[in-house]
Symmetry: C2
Subunit: 345 residues, 2 copies
DNA sequence: TAACTGCCTGAAACCGCTTGCAAGAATCGC
DNA sequence: GCGATTCTTGCAAGCGGTTTCAGGCAGTTA
């Protein structure tokens, strides 16, 4: 294989009999270049299928036109949705989005941050992962702050680290809505199946769950608030089994997310009960999962298009120095499907 | 906001009283630098949290250390799995993977290719999308070939474009195994629910489906091979409804993928039938979806870890010029779960 | 026809890092 | 102690673009 060097702007200039400056002007479509040269150069660009190096351009213009993104695991529909929308918006604005899966491992998150820093990303979007832990590991907070000192960091979640922007869902309000939905349907024995409590969403939802019940005169029962550990369908299944073994089981269950809700649904069905006949179930995220189960799962729905757009838009604003709100809250609504029913109080 | 320039290797060199060459050597950890200078420079790097610019380095070393990847939609668990594994392997080898979602739109695929070319990716991984169409659009094939002329292209699928490497699943064999699985369970009235036939996987599976049945003395029935159009759960649901309306419905259904299988399952359950009691269902991909439904779906399983690793490994080989097989086939197996049962012949 | 405009163009510096080359410093053998 | 080696270093030339600045040229004006 012959050591073929990439075609450069210099080659084009030489063959066209012009200077690199002229070619550069043509590439960036700036005015003030005679038509004949323009055509001659264009033809050569076509001929050699020349593409200017983003590396060189980035170096010279001191901007990379790339935005970094961190998420624990794109296989999770929630993050996939977010990434997708972010990518779209970034692309529309001439940016490339590079995503890294961190598996919520602190060392990996930090390693990726370093790498993104080297790549001179112009902004960083942080979704979940260690950023959701409370208390926040000190080393991680430091890394994030150092990052934010260089380029804008936008967190998809509530982090409250001074230099970071944040776009998030008000989980307390969302939980409140979910509880009210079930209360309205006549449920009084409502359970909340969550996971690790070192995740702030768990804390927020747990608190809102209890407060909302009390507000409506229902006393929260300790045995109805169960920590299933993980946030996956297996945990949901196991957690639900525990609930079903209770002397007085709940009539409705709120799951931390759709995955757990799907697990809970399986547990119920396997024991021969019906949903929503015997038990009502509602999840959070309104991901594709809700459409895959029978019955389809009611869920708290977020506007991912809006969410992704807001994340990138905020990053864009912060990058070009435009003033923009540090906090943004994404609206939600209850997506009523088929897993909850009205019961007699 | 003060126009803060990034710290450069030059700044470090100056403050440490050495040349940039020395700093560079320390950065790349090459031998032959006195311990005292090394320490002095390291300290400054820490102090300023200096990270060398990958842009500059890439330009100077004429390599970007990034690999590009194209897929239609990461929200699809199949691609998410693949991406995840590819990213892991790439990272382990010091490469960054940048993923673009193309929605299988030809113009977007080509646009992304151009962009990746500018970014000087050192290799391209193409997963699905337009690459699965038959016949292959000419403009697309041209783009791909042009790309392959510069850097190695590895296709996750069977494409047979000369300069591209390919790693794929033998869909015919996989279908064959699925059919045999059902035959072994005693089924004779077996249906295949697929989607658009301009996708080569559809063609391969369709043919294998018929051939395998015939091989076992079962005559394929036209009304049991239905084209549901899309490849999603909605299509699966609708397609299954059509099958259930047949005067003599099948006893088992093979769906093009898990998404469609999940849709089919819903259709069956909604009409009051049982799975696997009344109907057996099997899908392809063995994604997380199979664990979310009740009953869990049997499915044809691919080894994603192996698959992703093979894609990147092949790219790596091709990049450094090592000879490597142009074709690689990924093994599969039937993941038996709970959606198929034995019946009396 | 000389002086003045404005438009095109190219020379050259620069972006931040790597590396070949050659010179100076340190170490070694005798 | 001295020349021969072996280490350490720094200089400077790229890598492939962008951009500033000044010069060349044609068209105007007086």
């Amino acid at each position: 294989m012959d050591a073929k060097r990439e075609i450069t702007i210099y080659d084009i200039a030489k063959e066209a009999g012009v200077s690199t400056a002229t070619v550069s002007r043509i590439l960036s479509n700036s005015a003030g270049v005679k038509q004949d040269k323009r055509e001659r150069v264009q033809a050569l660009i076509e001929k050699y299928n020349f593409r200017p190096s983003a590396l060189a351009r980035g170096l010279s213009e001191t901007h990379s036109k790339v935005i970094g993104m961190l998420c624990p695991d794109v296989r999770n529909a929630y993050y996939a949705n977010l990434f997708m929308e972010c990518e779209r918006t970034a692309f529309e604005n001439g940016y490339t989005l590079v995503l890294n899966n961190t598996f919520a491992q602190e060392s990996l998150e930090i390693a990726f941050m370093e790498k993104l820093l080297e790549q001179r990303v112009e902004s960083l979007i942080v979704c979940g992962g260690v950023a959701d832990w409370r208390p926040l590991p000190e080393r991680y907070a430091k890394s994030l702050e150092r990052f934010a000192k260089r380029v804008p960091v936008v967190v998809a979640g509530k982090l409250d680290i001074e230099p970071c922007h944040q776009v998030y869902i008000d989980h307390a309000q969302a939980m409140c809505a979910a509880v009210r939905h079930l209360l309205t349907l006549g449920h009084r024995r409502i359970a909340f199946m969550h996971g690790f409590t070192y995740i702030y969403q768990t804390q927020d939802k747990l608190q809102a769950f209890q407060e909302t019940l009390q507000e409506y005169g229902v006393t929260p029962r300790a045995e109805y608030m169960i920590n299933a550990g993980e946030f996956d369908e297996q945990a949901g299944l196991l957690g639900m089994k525990r609930l079903l073994c209770l002397p007085e089981p709940p009539t409705a269950v709120i799951a931390m997310n759709d995955l757990m809700a799907a697990g809970a649904l399986q547990a119920v069905l396997r024991l021969g009960y019906a949903v929503p006949g015997d038990f009502s179930i509602i999840g959070f995220d309104d991901s594709i999962i809700t459409e895959l189960t029978e019955p389809n799962l009611s869920s708290v729905h977020y506007d991912y298009v809006h969410y992704g757009k807001a994340l990138i838009q905020t990053a864009l604003c912060a990058m070009n120095g435009t003033q923009c709100a540090r906090d943004q809250v994404i609206p939600f609504r209850i997506a009523v499907k088929a897993s909850c029913r009205k019961i007699d109080a």
